[in-house]
């Protein structure tokens, strides 16, 4: 029977595969156990693996992440869920002060094989604090890896890679496209390399770098463009960033547009522009350009359609940049 699943099912399947293969993998967080998560990303795990391996916690993000530090020190591979990225901030101290630092602090004696999962991004007509895209804040932290998949296949392979990674990984799931489409995915466990971008579509006149829920929007925009040869790169890992793929593409195309959902200033797009300027300056035929969320607080649902760049805006920006 074909295993055609969406992103949230791919997340669940990755967890299920790894829990079956590795008894030290435990999955916990708010509503994660009995209910199987508010997005059902952990559904069935408690039934299959028992209350010791998949369980609910008190409503306390700092303790969820902080206790995972202790569990990782003491022989487990915890995969903890932050219910929404907007609720990760109580755990920020643990993440920046301990999760990212333990290996260096102890000169390699203690390291933390743990994963923090969080649904991120807007466009689901949610309440305040449920639409955040603050990946850049975490990508700025030395010692942390930040991964964002955009397809079921990548979500499963990258999450399994994150669980097996000896270092902590923040795994951000684009909830706007959790159930947007299905894809044929191997039922068994497999990994994809963290730190490697994917060329979604080859082209030689203009590069678009994007990630997460913006990937299908960019693809949609590009499908309307016959007269410009656009290369689309799905970044997949925000940190450590795959500079090689970006630079090689820009050396070929001479033009780069970065599309992200997060606020513009100091975002991951700024880092990509810096890399291009440092490594591919002489290949540039136009200024590196960004199309992003505004430097505003994410609007409540009746205004959110203006915030996230739409395929139409992406198409317009591509045409503008190609004509520079």
């Amino acid at each position: 029977m074909p295993n055609k699943i969406n992103i949230v099912q791919a997340v669940q399947q990755a967890l299920q595969n790894e829990m079956a293969l590795d008894p030290t993998v435990v999955v916990y967080g708010e509503d994660v156990g009995v209910e199987g998560g508010v997005f059902r990303a952990t559904v069935g795990l408690q039934q299959e693996f028992g209350e010791d391996r998949s369980f609910d916690t008190p409503l306390a993000e700092s303790a969820i992440v902080g206790s995972a530090v202790g569990m990782a020190i003491n022989g487990f591979k915890p995969v903890v869920e932050m219910q929404f990225m907007g609720f990760i901030y109580p755990a920020f101290n643990q993440i920046i002060s301990h999760v990212a630092r333990y290996r260096n602090r102890t000169r390699g004696q203690r390291h933390l094989p743990m994963v923090i999962r969080a649904p991120y991004g807007g466009g689901i007509r949610a309440l305040e604090h449920h639409s955040e895209s603050t990946e850049a804040m975490f990508a700025h932290i030395p010692g942390l890896k930040v991964v964002i998949p955009s397809t079921p296949y990548d979500a499963k392979g990258l999450l399994i890679a994150a669980i097996r990674d000896p270092d902590p990984v923040l795994f951000l799931e684009p909830k706007r496209i959790y159930r947007a489409f299905r894809q044929e995915v191997p039922e068994e466990a497999y990994t994809l390399p963290i730190g490697k971008a994917k060329i979604v579509k080859e082209g030689d006149e203009l590069t678009v770098v994007t990630w997460g829920a913006m990937v299908p929007d960019v693809q949609k925009a590009v499908s309307n463009i016959d007269d410009i040869s656009v290369e689309v790169i799905d970044l997949r890992t925000i940190s450590p960033m795959d500079r090689e793929t970006i630079v090689a593409s820009v050396e070929k195309t001479g033009r780069i547009l970065i599309v992200h959902e997060a606020a513009k200033s100091f975002g991951a797009g700024a880092e990509i522009m810096a890399i291009v300027n440092e490594k591919a300056f002489l290949s540039l035929e136009a200024p590196p350009t960004r199309l992003t969320g505004f430097d505003t607080i994410f609007p409540l649902p009746r205004g959110e359609e203006h915030y996230i760049p739409t395929p139409a805006r992406i198409e317009a920006k591509i045409r503008e940049l190609a004509a520079y």
Binding site: S62, S67, N93, R103, N104, R107
Partner: protein, 363 residues
């Protein structure tokens, strides 16, 4: 379980030996062999010797910022003494007496305070976490270690430390709450040394004492004379076994920081001689020495030579790391991930190339 029903709301403190070295509660006097008594005493004296040498070195510019433990030796040594080798110690940053009990060696301790990450590489067999500077954040790690222990069906206990100021942190609440829910084998120790840098107890909490906070989390909370080594050993031994079999316990060790918060602090700005005066007589070392002398285990004239011997040992340990602990450049980059990222490799290479160029220009 004699202390399970201890009621901290009555605000009475457990004391076994008073300031004069008299045993005031013989029923609670822990069973200790002569050898164990001397081990406790020597560990307290070693702690004080490390403080004394480190403070001297700091004044000479040969040590960096240092957090002294003077006056808190019984609270630290007594709790650490109750742990088995397989039990865990999770410190804040002022637990020297416990570190010694858990096997963090003097040279490594000094290496840490003298600015090298290698000091926190304790060795694989030592169940002790490194110093945790963000206040009370380490309480969460202690809970997680205990959750792991419970999941494996093991019986190891985790002793976690914070101070009176640390009880005001959100992490203190979250950790105790988690521990209560999951019944983790955690002994939470509050070293109440009366000051969070300059802020006194009255500005920290309106609770009757710190031990009462345990009641809200469904765990026993015991208020103990932290300057009484016998009370600390008795309660710690009980707490460790209680945690091993049942779940978390909170101990408030009522003590006094006789020195500065760190060498960067000037206590005269926030407390007077009159504040300190009553605590001089309560020094945990004085009463323990009186007891040992009365018992014939120690002679008055042995104390000074012992202090000298320990200080010489500390100085020798310091000399072994004074020059050898400078950080190799690649070590700054090497330990962030199992494998260095291309970004880190580039930054290291660029810096090394700069240094090489600067070096050849200088020649």
């Amino acid at each position: 379980m004699q202390f399970e029903k201890f009621n901290p709301l009555e605000d009475e403190m457990i004391q076994v030996m008073d300031e004069t070295g008299e045993i005031v509660d013989p029923d609670l006097l822990p069973e200790l062999s002569d050898e164990e008594l001397l081990k406790l005493y020597h560990t307290m004296r070693r702690s004080r010797a490390i403080d004394s040498v480190a403070l001297n070195l700091q004044r000479q510019g040969r040590m960096l910022t240092y957090a002294p433990n003077l006056g808190q030796e019984a609270a630290q040594v007594g709790t650490g003494f109750a742990l088995k080798e397989t039990d865990w110690g999770v410190p804040a940053f002022r637990e020297l007496g416990m570190w010694l009990s858990k096997g963090w060696t003097v040279d490594k301790i000094l290496q840490y305070w003298y600015g090298s990450e290698w000091g926190s590489h304790h060795g694989d067999d030592i169940r002790l976490l490194p110093v945790s500077v963000p206040i009370s954040s380490q309480y969460q790690h202690a809970v997680g270690i205990g959750m792991a222990t419970r999941l494996r069906g093991e019986k190891d206990v985790v002793m976690a430390y914070t101070g009176d100021g640390g009880t005001s942190q959100g992490d203190f609440h979250e950790a105790l709450n988690f521990a209560g829910v999951y019944k983790t084998p955690t002994v939470f120790v509050i070293q109440n040394n009366q000051y969070a840098i300059s802020v006194p107890r009255v500005m920290q909490t309106a609770s009757k004492n710190y031990a009462v906070k345990a009641l809200a989390y469904g765990m026993p909370g015991i208020l103990v004379d932290g300057n009484d080594i016998f009370a600390m050993v008795a309660i710690s031994r009980w707490a460790v076994e209680y945690a091993r079999e049942n779940g978390p316990v909170l101990i408030e060790a009522y003590t006094f920081r006789m020195g500065a918060h760190t060498t960067s602090d000037d206590p005269t700005k926030y407390r007077t001689d009159e504040d300190v005066e009553p605590w001089i007589a309560k020094d945990p070392m004085i009463r323990f020495e009186k007891y040992l002398i009365n018992k014939g285990l120690l002679k008055e004239d042995e104390i000074e030579p012992l202090i000298e011997q320990f200080e010489d040992e500390v100085m020798a340990a310091y000399r072994s790391i004074e020059h050898s602990s400078d950080t190799e450049i690649d070590e700054i980059f090497k330990y962030h991930y199992a494998e260095m990222t291309p970004q880190l490799q580039d930054q290291l290479d660029e810096y090394l190339a700069y240094l090489k160029g600067a070096d050849s220009n200088a020649q």
